[in-house]
């Protein structure tokens, strides 16, 4: 059975992609956060452009900040956004 991952975008990631979210079927070779990014970049040129400088991206899995090499495990939501600038 294929699992589905919700992907949500914020700030300039959202603006430049022109969308707030995506759905992704998790295939067997998609294990980490970085695998999701790689997959999206292969899917469409726009991801390739927006995700070009990965040092400027931050990630949260099920609302917890994670590193790119974090395993997706059973996570349901991946958030991709720039470094935070609140306060």
């Amino acid at each position: 059975m294929t699992r589905k991952l919700d992907i949500v975008y914020f700030a300039w990631v959202k603006e430049r992609l022109g969308k707030t979210e995506d759905g992704l079927d998790i295939l067997a070779d998609i294990r980490t956060v970085e695998d999701v990014i790689d997959h999206l970049c292969r899917r469409d040129e726009i991801y390739h452009q927006v995700f070009a400088d990965r040092s400027r991206l931050r990630f949260a899995l099920d609302q917890q900040l994670v590193q790119p090499d974090t395993q997706l495990a059973d996570a349901r939501e991946l958030a991709i956004f720039p470094p935070v600038t609140g306060g």
Binding site: A11, A60, F81, V84, T85, G87
Partner: protein, 149 residues
């Protein structure tokens, strides 16, 4: 006693300080951040990640509560469009000890700046917009606490 609020509504620093003071600790520290009038800046647009924001602030507050003897912690962060001089954020901490109150307040602000999912967009008089970039000084400040604790 931890109170977290994330909303477009304005707040009264004085009232929040009074509530923390009413817990009786004797020492209350606060930090208030507001939109600074930077040249041609008209407003900030504060975006956040609703599903994550409150729990991220709650975690920071709990981390502070584990490190210092605090009677109360209040963290208020506004979202949406904020004009120059509008208030953005309030952190208020109460303790029996002034250094605990001040250190915890400072810690919470430093962590909030680096891990709470807020993003600021600057809106300028000529209609242009720009996303605020993270600042190395904020990263350094947050990293300093790890060395100290």
């Amino acid at each position: 006693m931890i109170k977290i609020s994330v909303s477009p509504a304005d707040f009264s620093a004085g009232e929040e300080i009074q509530k923390i003071a009413a817990l009786g600790g004797g020492a209350v520290a606060s930090f208030t951040g507001q939109v600074r009038g930077d040249g041609e800046l008209v407003a900030l647009e504060l975006e956040h990640y609703p599903a994550m924001t409150e729990q991220a602030l709650q975690s920071i507050a709990e981390e502070a509560a584990a490190q210092w003897p605090l009677h109360g912690i209040t963290v208020i962060h506004r979202v949406g469009r904020l004009a120059v001089n509008d208030q953005i954020v309030l952190v208020c901490t109460g303790s029996d000890h002034r250094q605990a109150a001040i250190s915890a307040c400072s810690f919470i602000m430093d962590k909030l700046k680096t891990v709470a999912p807020f993003w600021k967009k600057e809106i300028w008089q000529d209609g242009s917009e720009s996303w605020v970039e993270e600042r190395q000084s904020d990263l350094d400040a947050a990293a300093d606490w790890k060395k100290r604790t």
